[in-house]
Subunit: 588 residues, 2 copies
């Protein structure tokens, strides 16, 4: 066996508390190198006649990617303590892998050799809100969703959808516009809305905050926002706001004070200023988001700044009862800040959702002390490369998804935020080169996958557009201009996701993935329900054998409601190009 | 190249802030598989004409162990942000390793492929007290160090050293005894003392605390302790106490209250009680240290308990100015508790040393938010297997030490607590089967190694004894009964460690390790000083070639003070069995 490929380190995604009683243990080995793995484990104080009383239990192969197999087991240690190692076998070969290295036989004269999960302390268990698992989000860019109150339009507002947006154009979208279209969202079936920033800021995107305690006057006022949240809650819709705490806007009063008073400003330590006087060109001589002088980075290590921002976080929960905070540029702010942020917001509202914007591997923020989830861009990236761009085949896609799932604990995956696009990426229909069939497959995969999916406003009606500002066009409200075909598809998927817990909470198992025919078959299983999804992501009709023994089962086509009893050992299915089949498998 | 063996994941020991400006990046590859590694890196916002402006810099091989090579580089990112990947070459083969996998050429159209160190926030930098790097500790088990005040001896106290200790015997050691022997410690050269628990407790070891706010009356009173700390500080000696917060003693008032009042006790949530009434046999029906009914586990998640214990931690700093807390059974207490503990004690005394008792890999406690160091038992274990027991050869020993050093960031290693034994292990002379030569080599390695070494009282005079209670005999004060040979050896080593920063702060490089002759040669380098250590850990004299080009250097034998100019290309050295040579290498 290939020792160099074997990896385990306690905590993070390899050994973690799934809940207050249960540990999950994972092991990574070289792909197809190991035939079986057993966990050797016991409480460290279980001794008899000088021999440590090891137990032995088989691990299951929970998946594989390009290079590795992953092994999994769940253990409930009776005294919440565990020492453990791994017995790996392949043919006649057997090795025991421990913290101290490899052995031929498992030592039982000492527990010091072994890996250690010292104690399952409840307070350290990763714990995210339960409702997130049952939520379908809808992301709204308020300036472009609907203009409900022309009286507060900014100067120079263009007629709705009269032209393509530029980085600086205004179309008059506002909170009242959202309120007026809540029925549309209810009809669509979403039960969470995520609003990009709504606080006072000069730009149309409002990531350059002027005042964190005020609603932007072009979006409305606090009464309107209160009405929006209350109406949403009445309709069973949660509301998440965008916390832009990494940087403020150029017109944020403390920054203006520093611009004016320089070193004498009492706010000079609110920022990271390299030298006085401040300069904005060629690059700002203060830390900023990227090198954008209009977005000075806040010094979140400064206790005054910390208090200010934590007060902001508390205020919008306390006064308006919001349900979540999405954290902009979350990984550029210190961990210490986020730990205190979590304590503040969770103490006010224990089931508030904390969602970080992190585009990379985010394990260090998902250890239970900081975020509940991150925007899972590695998922997005894989899905787009496979479905939208056909850059990778079905096998590689399954490997990417398996790899992402094994990068985090299961309880983290269960609340991960899965998006196909956002205000920061081109529209998916555009990425799919206007191929509606591909968009439908993307929605199918997203809405049958675990976690908390999010639809970017307008993607459900086939809006198009490239990278910002193209992806921020005005929402199309005229039904005849909407792609009703995509809309009905999305509504149907959301309805299925609601009706069948296996869609949202089911564990995914890749049954088959072919690079030749580019088809992908997976099941989602939750409790006693199994959903079978078969996707043909190629331009040719395929005729495949279902890789499951279904004899004696009922198959319900969830798309057509047809159902039939499987009588043969094997079943064959024909799937048109860029299409799919969706079955619920039921016992007789 | 062997892709499955290549490992990197940002943060922890692979990518971390060494200080407020500097990042350290490490990579692991299969041993002898890769010829060169270059870091590809840049600020994520450095673009020109749509191309990300990557830099390329060579990494150095910082060590190897049984299976792996380790590569290292230091980077100072001008804007504190970094994206990076690795270019690995071997012969004509070249691969680029990124977060998203392997490529033939480094992509420059997007930074999303790459590993991400988002921002170097100062507050998240691991930061331990500087003085710890220059400290040699002395661990005292107070009941057995010296009886300075017979008037407060417990009932049934035995005459000093009149017999071997049992688990329950008392010999009358106390704080006054330590005070009376401070000159001995000054003469030995140590400048830190670590006292096992001194708070009110019935046992001789006092890990079963009755009252955390009182000195045990058999050890003395608060005035005496204050005098001890003040005298130590006058003599440049720091004082560290033992915080037994995982569990209390059976006679701790809140536990007694629960025993008496059962479910009606207001302290019932201070513990983890499975059912009422409490039972102590056959196993306690409440959580305990191991299964020891006399040591009920405290519920450190309970805010009342947390406040109580944090008050304890603060009290002994505030009132007595102690310099460190050693945390007993530290890994069985929740991370949340330790994060708050750090905030409390560091806010009172920023350079207090927080030392956790963790016998296993302790990375999750050493991320800057919890401990400064752990008792580095993997070091102890390796040193004992090589020097004391000859269970492993020189190569494997060098590999173990290299592996331990690469398991943690460098700034963690610089303050690690390195012990050869403690009140929880057999005495080193006993482990060495009474071979004084081996004990001397152990002290040589420990006291020439990085971090903060600790001598267990009496080991320096050749005391013997097996596992507890054997290792807790009364300190031998009659000079004629002390092993003066070991004592002089230790004093000399401590003096050298003080005189030569390279001993304590130098980076270790293993130059040669032979399993045949069992010799080990390493250098310690700090700034412009290099120390060369050559150890013969075998029963035969060896005659070796020094694996360094020393021509044109002065060699100072630090043990004999002889010095000579190296004139030949190669130097040969003869080293007697279980002996060593120690040179300072100087330029002409
Ligand atoms: Ca408007
Ligand atoms: Ca006494």
């Amino acid at each position: 066996m290939f020792k160099e490929a074997i990896y385990h380190r306690p905590k993070d995604n390899f050994a973690y508390a799934y809940d207050e009683k249960t540990l999950h243990i994972r092991l990574r080995t070289k792909k197809d190198d190991v035939e079986a793995v057993h966990l050797l484990y016991a409480d460290p104080y279980e001794w008899k006649d000088g021999v440590w009383q090891l137990n032995r239990a088989p691990m299951v192969k929970s998946g594989f990617d390009d290079l590795f197999d992953y092994w999994f087991i769940e253990v409930i240690p009776p005294y919440r303590r565990l020492r453990y190692g791994f017995e790996l076998t392949s043919g006649n070969e057997k090795i025991v892998y421990t913290e101290k290295g490899f052995y031929h036989e498992a030592p039982t004269d000492d527990t010091a050799y072994y890996f250690c999960f010292p104690f399952l302390n409840k307070i350290d268990v990763f714990h995210a809100p339960e409702w997130v698992k049952d939520t379908v989000w809808y992301q709204i860019f308020p300036e472009r969703f609907a203009n409900g109150n022309p009286a507060i339009d900014p100067e120079g507002t263009l007629p709705w959808a009269s032209e393509d947006p530029t980085p600086t154009s205004f179309f008059g979208g506002d909170l009242e516009g959202i309120i007026q279209h809540l029925d549309y969202l209810v009809d669509l079936g979403v039960n969470g809305i995520y609003l990009t920033p709504i606080f006072h800021a000069p730009s149309n995107h409002k990531y350059d905050t002027t005042n964190y305690f005020e609603i932007d006057p072009h979006f409305g006022d606090k009464q309107t926002f209160k009405k929006l949240v209350d109406l949403c809650h009445e309709k069973g819709i949660r509301v998440m706001l965008d916390a832009v705490f990494n940087h403020c806007g150029y017109y944020f009063a403390p920054f203006q004070d520093v611009l004016k008073n320089g070193e004498a400003s009492k706010y000079k330590d609110w920022f990271h200023i390299h030298e006085f006087p401040l300069q904005t060109t060629p690059r700002p001589n203060y830390d900023a988001f990227a090198f954008v002088a209009q977005m000075p980075k806040l010094n979140t290590e400064n206790p005054e700044v910390k208090k200010y921002l934590l007060d902001v976080a508390a205020y919008w929960i306390q006064e308006f009862d919001i349900d979540g905070w999405r954290l902009d540029v979350a990984n550029e702010i210190d961990h210490q800040f986020w730990r205190e942020f979590r304590q503040v917001v969770k103490s006010m509202k224990p089931d508030v959702y904390i969602l970080g914007e992190i585009w990379h591997d985010a394990m260090p923020w998902l250890r239970g002390d900081q975020f509940d989830a991150v925007m899972n861009y590695p998922f997005t990236n894989g899905a787009i490369r496979f479905f939208a761009k056909n850059e990778i085949g079905a096998k590689q896609f399954a490997n990417i998804i398996t790899n992402v799932l094994h990068s985090y604990p299961e309880n983290v995956n269960e609340v991960a935020f899965h998006l196909l696009g956002s205000h920061d990426t081109p529209r998916i229909l555009t990425v799919c080169d206007n191929d509606v069939r591909k968009v439908k497959l993307l929605f199918l995969f997203q809405l049958s996958f675990t976690g908390s999916p999010c639809i970017y406003y307008g993607d459900e009606i086939g809006m198009t557009g490239g990278q910002d500002p193209g992806c921020r066009k005005c929402m199309v409200w005229e039904e005849e201009k909407q792609n009703r075909d995509i809309l009905e598809h999305v509504k149907k998927l959301i309805a299925l996701r609601k009706a069948h817990p296996a869609f949202r909470r089911g564990k995914i198992t890749f049954m088959d993935a072919s690079d030749e025919s580019n088809h992908l078959i997976y099941t989602k299983t939750y409790l006693d329900e199994t959903i079978l999804v078969m996707i043909n992501n190629s331009s040719k009709e395929i005729d495949i054998t279902v890789p499951l023994s279904l004899k004696g089962k009922w198959l319900v086509n969830l798309w057509t409601n047809e159902q039939f009893a499987a009588e043969a050992e094997t079943l064959r299915a024909a799937i048109p190009p860029y299409s799919f089949l969706l079955y619920q498998i039921k016992n007789w």
